[in-house]
């Protein structure tokens, strides 16, 4: 993944844009398609300038139809292209669910490996930006529940670049979930820097008391909670999953075994969510190392609320610290 782009400060949005640009420069089979990806550069500007540089055929404004977009991408991939699809907002990907679940996810399997589909489906997801209905869903559990899809979600600027490049290079379909409230967060970006591959979790902060297991939009919240926890005498590690499928059992269990206490944090609803899966896996694999049950801090089991109430729904520092307090299981007698 060598590239000419120099190290600079970049927002996550710019890093994603650079990843698309570099991938398109290096591989003519990479095509971008979606609603408003052309002259507008996408509503979040992730595809800014791609039509100008690569032409309309390679960065295509499509008619407004998500099932059509993804279905067309399937055909393009069958013919040897590497489509990168943009779904404008999380809840607007649902019309494409049929194509995603019945075809994208299953084509390799249905054709005994003859028709793999190297499609990347970029979906801005999650809340915290004051969006009205249908602009803040966290739908990762739907995707993760569907065998055949990779589910990737970066939380840092470097990962946004590296994981998107890896997703486009992947011979399998990838649902690439972009935490939209982190789009404008800045950090240094060195496109040449090595990035842990898809499927590897990364410890963002070491600690000795317990570990917060998280991903995407909740990573900064967990780091903030870990900082705040110092005042209470807790030294929290923070593990960024980066990929939900494939799941990095090894790293997760290693950390949990060494600390014995874990909290899973995500903003999607808890019931039947990815946190439930993670807690179950950890319990199955690390039972004897656990000093307390694996706890979850998640959004409530409600439709995503209107923007003025979303802060009551989203897991924040206090709710995480409360869970950490509950982790001191043995102290409660």
């Amino acid at each position: 993944m060598s590239t000419a782009t120099p190290v600079r400060t970049s927002t996550m949005a710019q890093a994603l844009n650079a990843a698309l640009r570099d991938a398109m420069r290096e591989d003519r089979s990479v095509h971008v398609l979606g609603e408003d990806v052309g002259a507008l550069g996408g509503v979040f500007r992730i595809t800014d300038g791609l039509t100008a540089e690569f032409g309309r055929d390679r960065c295509l404004d499509t008619p407004l139809a998500e099932a059509g977009i993804l279905g067309t991408a399937i055909g393009m991939a069958m013919y040897g292209l590497r489509p990168v699809v943009e779904m404008q907002f999380d809840a607007f990907a649902y019309p494409a669910m049929e194509q995603l679940v019945s075809h994208v996810a299953k084509m390799r399997n249905r054709t005994a490996g003859k028709l793999p589909l190297p499609i990347t489906i970029r979906i801005p997801y999650g809340g915290g930006i004051g969006g009205v209905e249908h602009h803040s869903d966290s739908s990762e559990a739907y995707y993760a529940q569907t065998p055949g899809l990779h589910v990737v979600t970066p939380a840092t600027v470097g990962d946004a670049y590296g994981l998107l490049r890896a997703s486009i290079a992947s011979d399998d379909p990838v649902v690439f979930l972009e935490p939209k409230r982190l789009y404008w967060g800045k950090d240094g970006l060195d496109p040449a820097a090595p990035v842990e591959p898809i499927g590897r979790a990364v410890l963002r902060r070491t600690g000795s008391s317990a570990v917060l297991i998280t991903y995407g939009p909740s990573l900064p919240v967990c780091l903030e909670a870990a900082e705040a926890a110092k005042a209470e005498g807790w030294d929290l590690a923070v593990l960024d999953l980066r990929t939900l499928v494939p799941f990095d059992d090894e790293t997760v269990c290693q950390v949990v075994r060494s600390l014995g206490r874990a909290v899973v944090v995500h903003e999607a609803s808890g019931f039947g969510g990815t946190g439930a899966e993670i807690a179950a896996r950890v319990t199955e694999r690390c039972f004897h190392h656990l000093a307390a049950p694996v706890l979850r801090v998640t959004g409530f089991d409600i439709p995503y609320p209107p923007p003025m109430l979303e802060h009551h729904h989203l897991p924040g520092v206090d709710r995480i610290l409360d869970a950490v307090a509950r982790l001191q299981w043995e102290d409660r007698g």
Binding site: E35, G41, L64, V132, I302
Partner: protein
Amino acid sequence: MTVLDHRHHTSVPGWRPGATAPRTDPAPLLPDASPVRVLGTPALEKYDPALLRELYRRLVVGRRYNQQATVLTKQGRLAVYPASTGQEACQVAAAMVLGAGDWLFPSYRDTLAVVSRGVDPLEALTLLRGNAHTGYDPRATRTAPLCTPLATQAPHAVGLAHAARLSAEPVVALAMLGDGGTSEGDFHEALNFAAVLQAPVVFLVQNNGYAISVPLTQQSAAPSLAHKAVGYGMPGRLVDGNDAPAVHAVLGEAVERARSGGGPTLVEALTYRLEAHTNADDATRYREDEEVAAWREHDPVLLMERHLREAGLLDDLLVRQASEEAEALAARMRAEFHSDAELDPMSLFAHVYAEPTPQLREQAAQLAAELAAELAAEAEVQH
């Protein structure tokens, strides 16, 4: 290369001539190539002056509503506002052709149609303000919630109209969509169901030229969006969407046709979005100022004012009354939105199910405890 002779079809096993023929001759289904216009034509004389004056009044008030809501976004008082500035004729007419028992199925851009239907102007804005998903009672107002996922309300309109007809009630449903929305599968499924069921429903497509940044040329290759009706077996109609009496007449005819058992109609209104898609959009990235300027000349409020004056139907008194009403509404919006809305966080758990699940009760208790702890902490600080 062989050219298929359509007579070959008769040899398809099981095919009977007429078996798949449309219920109506295709010819009357096709839209007239030139959109219906009333303003500036002799047809204007046939209109009831009272109706024209009412249209004018609503246009003026509607324009002011759009302007004030846009200002409220700039002041951070609305989370977002997709203005229908330039499309007021469609908004107002859509509301006016419906009777009290009919139903409106609006999209996110159709707040003004909702207000023009009689829904409280402030309640119509709660979604866009950000304090509730739907601020009005859909049943009481016969107005479905403003719909954000594109075209998904169209099948609902069909189903409601179908159900009403089953109970022999003279109810019509009117679904409003944008040009971009006509590309979605739901739109096509809705049209097909409507035609097959002969449901009393009217589809109004406000073709304002763009779906966010995508111009119509990249959205559809059909001769017009109204043409899309024909393949489903319903009439398509084209109207100048900035000509309020014309939109009123064409929609009114479609509503009457539906009510009298004539089935669905697709109406395409040719109009223009004078503002950006929403306050969050940068329209300079995809369209030229000259284009916008040209459409400003064809502004629905201007057109109405000019032509009614020419016809001697507009007097200074009406102009003053309309403008006073508009200012009063704007002042009410400013006053109401100046203060923060009172919101109850516990409302998060209301109405998720008819009866809250045990899990939701637990989560509600958790939030209540958090809020109580916050209050206690605040009280501590104050002492």
